[in-house]
Symmetry: C2
Subunit: 542 residues, 2 copies
């Protein structure tokens, strides 16, 4: 029997209507690519988003068609978030940090009809324009005054002129909440990028869950700065969450150095900032150098990769800024878990609290987690037994864009490719990538733990632990070490260093000293190359 409740679809445009109506005076502040600070309100933004929705329709974009963006975090990008998705088209946020070939591949694969880009990305667009097959219009996200005087793009359009040509009399269309709203590609180490096609429903449920007290804890009293780019999984959903709760938004634009961020945080009285550890490292270095403090910031959300323990301690102890660990994936909209305390943790000593804060946290309601062990069985949430992390929920992809393959899925669950543990309180901790974990005699050994211990040795500059083939145990850990200049270290000393720190059977079978370890474009160790080269080392030695 169906209930008798109103059938109101969950639509992104309703966030904008809500923010305009109930938080019309709330500010949106942006550092502009053209220089200076831009400041306006949700009311202004909503009116301009309506004008842009009309402008995009006037360019011939229809419902369900793709519109690409190459842009930093700023008010015009925010307008596109609402104008494109709200009108029934799909915003495809392109990652300008990828290789030009990948950028054109994604634009073609998505069949982008219009490409919006910021001045900074004119050279990139010029470099790929001959490759782009579907784009009919190119729009520079600036005003007439700042339009490039010379360029190689035929019929180049100006964002502000598009806006000026329209009035703001526009009613957001109503449609199914399952409708696609936005598209974001994720790029692995191999193969072409893969697209996650989000819906209005998934975006709104994610925004509700993301704003909860045990998630990012967002209210109308917050001033929120997404440093995480809007081209990277919708800036973790913050452009939607802020409208939902009526928070002030502060966009840093293109300058993500410590000095620029710190000035904006202080001048706009930011209460919460969200980004990756490398950005926070730059911020902390600058604040330390000017002996600054944070006068309004109460917390920083750290995602992308784990927050180094020293950074966590510095934020908390030196600056009284709470660190909130968040974990997710492009395929998950992205939020899966957030680390906040339970009551039992409140009275713990500092070290125990740090141990909790260093985990990836508990799942938001809506996200289900389970762990699959080496034998394919579900393993217990005991905080010790590792398993491949599987996730399920209404803001997780069912398949990649333009693919019907559910290769990444099993029984309706999405395989994250991470190996992790979950403790009885629900706190999840990633211990490895599933392709890096060492499968020794049916048991798993986490490579990250072994590397972290090695790197804490005073003579070690870098260490990688890989699975090496073994006649008896299938795989055993092999440690590759780069020593610090001027230091000497023997295999025996290195292996002895593990004593008492791990289970004895986890100890690597051998240590190889190498000159360097190959790193990828994002700074991650390329273990696949190491495996190709060294995986038979133990067989050869035997």
């Amino acid at each position: 029997m169906n209930a008798q409740m109103m059938q109101q679809p969950l639509l992104i445009s309703s966030l904008l209507v809500h923010a305009e109506r109930h938080h019309g005076d709330q500010q949106i502040v942006s550092r502009r690519v053209e220089g200076g600070i831009h400041r306006y309100t949700y009311r202004d933004m909503a009116a301009r988003a309506r004008r842009m929705a009309k402008a995009v329709a006037a360019l011939g974009v229809e419902s369900g068609q793709m519109v690409g963006s190459l842009a930093w975090n700023g008010y015009r990008h925010l307008e596109l978030y609402y104008a494109i998705s709200g009108s029934g088209a799909v915003l495809h946020t392109l990652n300008p940090r990828l290789h030009a070939d990948q950028v054109s591949w994604m634009a073609n694969h998505a069949e982008d009809q219009v490409l919006f880009f910021e001045l900074s990305f004119l050279p990139l667009v010029e470099a790929v324009i001959s490759e782009l097959k579907s784009v009919r219009h190119f729009v520079v996200m600036t005003d007439r005054e700042h339009m490039p005087s010379t360029h190689k793009i035929p019929g180049l359009l100006c964002y502000e002129e598009l806006i000026d040509a329209q009035d703001d009399h526009y009613t957001w269309p109503q449609f199914s909440e399952e409708t696609a709203s936005s598209l974001c590609y994720t790029s692995g180490t191999t193969g072409n990028p893969k697209g996650a096609l989000y819906s209005h429903r998934s975006t709104l449920l994610h925004a509700y869950a993301g704003a909860l007290p045990d998630s990012l804890n967002c209210s109308a009293r917050d001033v929120i700065m997404p440093v995480v780019p809007m081209f990277h999984v919708n800036a973790w959903g913050l452009p939607y969450i802020c409208a939902l709760v009526g928070a002030k938004l502060v966009f840093p634009g293109a300058n993500l150095d410590g000095k620029s961020l710190y000035e904006l945080i202080e001048s706009e009285q930011v209460t919460m900032a969200a980004g990756v550890p490398t950005v926070w490292q730059g911020l902390l270095t600058h604040v330390n150098s000017v002996r600054g403090r944070f006068s309004a910031m109460t917390r920083t959300v750290v995602g992308g990769s784990a927050c180094p323990p020293a950074m966590l301690q510095t934020f908390i102890e030196k600056y009284d800024v709470q660190v909130v660990h968040a974990w997710g994936m492009t395929e998950m909209s992205p939020l899966g878990t957030v680390c906040t305390f339970k009551t039992k943790h409140l009275d713990m000593d500092k070290e125990s609290q740090y141990a909790v804060l260093s985990t990836q946290g508990r799942p938001l309601f809506g996200i289900e987690l389970k762990l699959i062990g080496a034998g394919g069985e579900e393993v217990p949430h005991d905080g010790k037994t590792p398993g491949e992390l599987m996730v399920r929920g209404p803001w997780i992809i069912s398949s990649y864009y333009k693919s019907e393959s559910t290769a990444a899925h099993k029984d309706g669950w999405f395989a994250t490719g991470d190996v992790s543990t979950i403790d009885p309180d629900g706190y999840m901790q990633i211990t490895d990538r599933s392709k890096d974990v060492i499968k020794s005699g049916g048991e798993w050994i986490g490579s990250i733990d072994l590397e972290n211990i090695a790197m804490s040795h005073p003579s070690v500059a870098m260490a990688a632990c890989i699975a090496a083939r073994h006649t008896k145990w299938d795989e055993r850990p092999l440690l590759l070490v780069v020593t610090k200049p001027g230091h000497t270290l023997t295999s025996e000393e290195m292996l002895a260093f593990y004593e008492g720190k791990i289970a004895k059977w986890w100890t690597p079978d051998d240590v190889l000293f190498v000159d360097s370890i190959p790193l990828g474009a994002t700074g991650k160790m390329q273990k696949n190359l190491l495996r190709d080269r060294y995986q038979d080392h133990l067989l050869a030695a035997a």
Copy 2:
């Protein structure tokens, strides 16, 4: 174009699965009708809910069928919330405070198949049993030891025996999120009660929105006591919200006196309690008499009717407990607005803050508000112009149960029957019931304001203001006053008291002194009776 996201329906059972898995050790504490305190965990509760789901199926209850409850706030009622709705049947929470004739009318109208009731309600069930047409099984919510030795109910079943007869191997069924989950009737002053039939979807969206920082702000660190009954609009959604966030739940059972509540609040370290002003009055009186304080409670949620200013001040200033005004209706699941500050209010003086806190607050995202003026036009949100409050959203009824009439709806909006203002920041304040507002020459005069002013006169015990018919202005305010014993007051003195306090044209046309004002069962003035009697007074006087 549809997105490629997982199709996960929003189901009540998923709240339970989440709470069991990630907050399994969290406590649920209940004061039992049988005496003493009962204490167990979400893990225990989930297992018993699964057993009860099997027990109800064994009684022959099918998907979509109704199961009635007559119960206080306690763990067994909570089990029914999850067992009945989770299994695809519908929990119909009956209000035992209504007249016996209404109780049997509702059970028959809903076609309840099974009736669960607590020991306290045995006499009520015995009184109506001959009227009940659909109920096939009666279950007392107690154990064998406490089963009534003599009673008039054939085949009376025992709750704990039903549980004991089942194991907990049960998988919650998956079905459409539009499926009906629970039913609650609202009783007006005239006519039969009307049912609001909630869905799994509406319940879950309401729970997400209700837990937000600017709503009830619920986290896993909270200890939440719903004093508002579980038979009254699902205790404002708290049984769902607490599972969603993993909060400790404290149920007061049948004893809602100040002493019982205070003991439980202190012994269980309640951080938030939710209820109506009359309950808080009893609590404050007791705490004052024992010179107590609240050692953990940070806030109290007040709904049902407006919190009197003196109570608001006492909570905040004397006890350092924040007062959170919430407004809603049975037809709205119930939450519509909650009163929390914006940044601009944080530095205001106390009086200005109290003025904000005395409003009904801002709408949760999902709920839209608009005001319709006397002429049917939408009126501005200026904080001054009153209009009939219309609401829209996914947790508002589309029609009443077993009725296809949308008489209460207009263009997809539900007419609340309240007259209110909304200020530019979105804060809504109810000024009258639409049937009580005085329509004078096309303008509206709020009766509540006029009554409040009259009641602040030292000689006035009670005052009611009604619309009296008028030849020129259609309607004009007529004030009915009961003076305090030993006080004398003239019409002239009473009317002079309004000078400077309201717009001159709002001043009542006349004052009638009466011996008493009729009150209904819930303590509200029965203005319809007063209108019947006095509405022609001004015509007669003219």
